[in-house]
Symmetry: C2
Subunit: 330 residues, 2 copies
């Protein structure tokens, strides 16, 4: 099979590429060819037995989607996005990339499908976000709760979810939108996502560096590891989506944890010395964005469909130590 | 004050124009000038004391919105739309008008606001629809229930709701989306909305003409009269929207009624002779669309904010007889 990954150079994109390189197959079908694209060329995934073509492609350009889809990939993983902080500060860029470029991708698939005489209908796995929800929320959000985003990023993700459902209903794509929890512990340098600190308060102290905590300790978070996030995409690529019916958006499972509980988990692994490296420095704009995000879900549909995440924050820290900690202290 | 009505020649648009002409004011502020536009020029509203400029404008054209907004209307009523049946059969036209033209309108306001140095921020009342909801639904849908449309029309309305909330949150517009019940009894010739028969099975028999009923008698409907629909728009134009918080979409009140109960109401007014003029002729495509629409709401937020509809289907029939029946039999 042939796959296309948009946003392959991003943190989750790279985790997904690495997992696919290691697995060599999706749902028992061997991967023959992978096209990996991002605004900067993604790295070659190490150890892949399939041909990986890595290229820098600007999805905001008019022709990009058409060219990528012309190869008729069987599975399209769409993780490319302007992150929450930037979509909030740059209104036009957020809509151009997160909404318009995605719609152009769907339209390119529609045209390719027409050219194929109706035979082409790829699986499309879209990276959505729990940022589609917004306060006021019940303590636990179930699968029937209102989508009411409080950021432009969340609005753009929610609009694409609607489009994806419509294009799927019409048989143009076989799509599914995965509402990712906040992904922690992120390796590498912080990006411009408002949620970056949730990772740096673990990653940086464990590497002996200071980290800034811009919100109150009571702030509650719905999270999963990068490893779990990559596994969501692979699982979604092989799933029988007929089981979903017309509702093609799934809230992914995760762990509900407060910042205070994060700090306690850090203490158990890194001791008092690590905890002392967290510097509290309130940032109202970040606190405002994060305050609107819900901290607990009953992700029943996703669990029933076999999506699996960690079950405690200690487990998430353990995954970080296994997968990424060495690189962080190197 | 200056007002702009998009979709002024449509059925609800004309009712709204007539009501505004009769009232002469919105929320105690006199209307000085009204610009009434539609794809075909709307009629001059009878008896208006304000200047009414009626023009044919194609909102799908690039410049239309900019020109209309250049006059800085205080209130924009946006009722222009490709109806549900047509948006389902013509995919591109539905998105072009219902989504893209509306987004261009919001962008035109954004540019006009920038030109005004941030002073211009119109009230924008958008005609959304209960078609943003889709099965499976609980028996009664409350204000926190998931938006999950099953038609392209519903998707387009839901996407605009999200945009409207984001543009409102950012202070570009002061918007509110009214999710209209199915509006019955519609006067005049049937349009291409899938819901048209809900009106014709009352209107046509009362005028001595046959009407086709394409769905089962148990089909349940959430409905309000054209008079109530017009009143929703006027009420929304004068409302303090700060009370809504960030959630700018409101499900309007209405009456929950089955087709069988509609027929009984017809019998009470028109007798057995009228009922005999209903011809049952199943239409699967209409039945499929309508089956996905929910039939009962707890429209608590809207009621709390003072929106009022009829309380029985007999009352809806009475409103039809008072407002439109004479024209139908003429």
């Amino acid at each position: 099979m042939r796959i296309l990954i948009l946003g392959a150079a991003g943190m989750i994109g790279r985790k997904l590429c690495a997992k696919l390189a290691a697995d060599g197959a999706i749902g028992g079908r061997a991967i023959d060819e992978a096209r990996l694209v991002d605004v900067a060329a993604p790295p070659q995934p190490a150890g892949a037995r399939f041909a990986a073509l890595c290229a820098a492609v600007d999805l905001a350009s008019e022709l990009a989607a058409a060219e990528l889809v012309a190869e008729r990939p069987d599975v399209v993983f769409h993780l490319a996005a302007v992150v929450s902080g930037e979509a909030e500060s740059n209104f036009d860029k957020g809509y151009a990339v997160n909404l318009d470029a995605t719609r152009r991708l769907f339209e390119a698939i529609r045209r390719e499908r027409a050219r194929s005489g109706g035979a082409y209908r790829p699986r499309l796995v879209f990276a959505s976000s729990i940022a589609v929800f917004g306060a006021p929320c019940p303590e636990t959000i179930d699968d029937d709760f209102l989508v009411a985003p409080l950021t432009s990023y969340g609005v753009q993700k929610a609009m694409v979810e609607l489009l994806l459902a419509d294009y799927s209903r019409r048989g143009i794509i076989d799509g599914v939108a995965l509402r990712l929890p906040t992904v922690v512990v992120r390796p590498g340098a912080p990006n411009r996502a408002a949620s970056g600190f949730f990772s740096s308060i673990i990653r940086e102290p464990l590497a002996g560096r200071e980290a800034i905590l811009p919100v109150a300790d009571a702030t509650r978070l719905w999270c999963a590891s990068p490893r779990a996030a990559a596994s969501f995409f692979v699982h979604a690529a092989a799933l029988d989506l007929e089981r979903l019916g017309p509702r093609r958006s799934l809230t992914m499972p995760g762990v509900s944890v407060t910042v205070a509980e994060q700090v306690e988990a850090l203490r158990r692994v890194g001791g008092e010395a690590a905890v002392r490296l967290i510097r509290r420095q309130a940032d109202e704009s970040i606190a405002d964005i994060v305050a609107g995000w819900p901290g607990r879900f009953d992700a029943r549909r996703a669990r029933t469909l076999g999506f699996v995440a960690e079950t405690s924050f200690d487990e998430i820290v353990r995954v970080y130590l296994e997968d990424d900690h060495v690189a962080a202290v190197a």
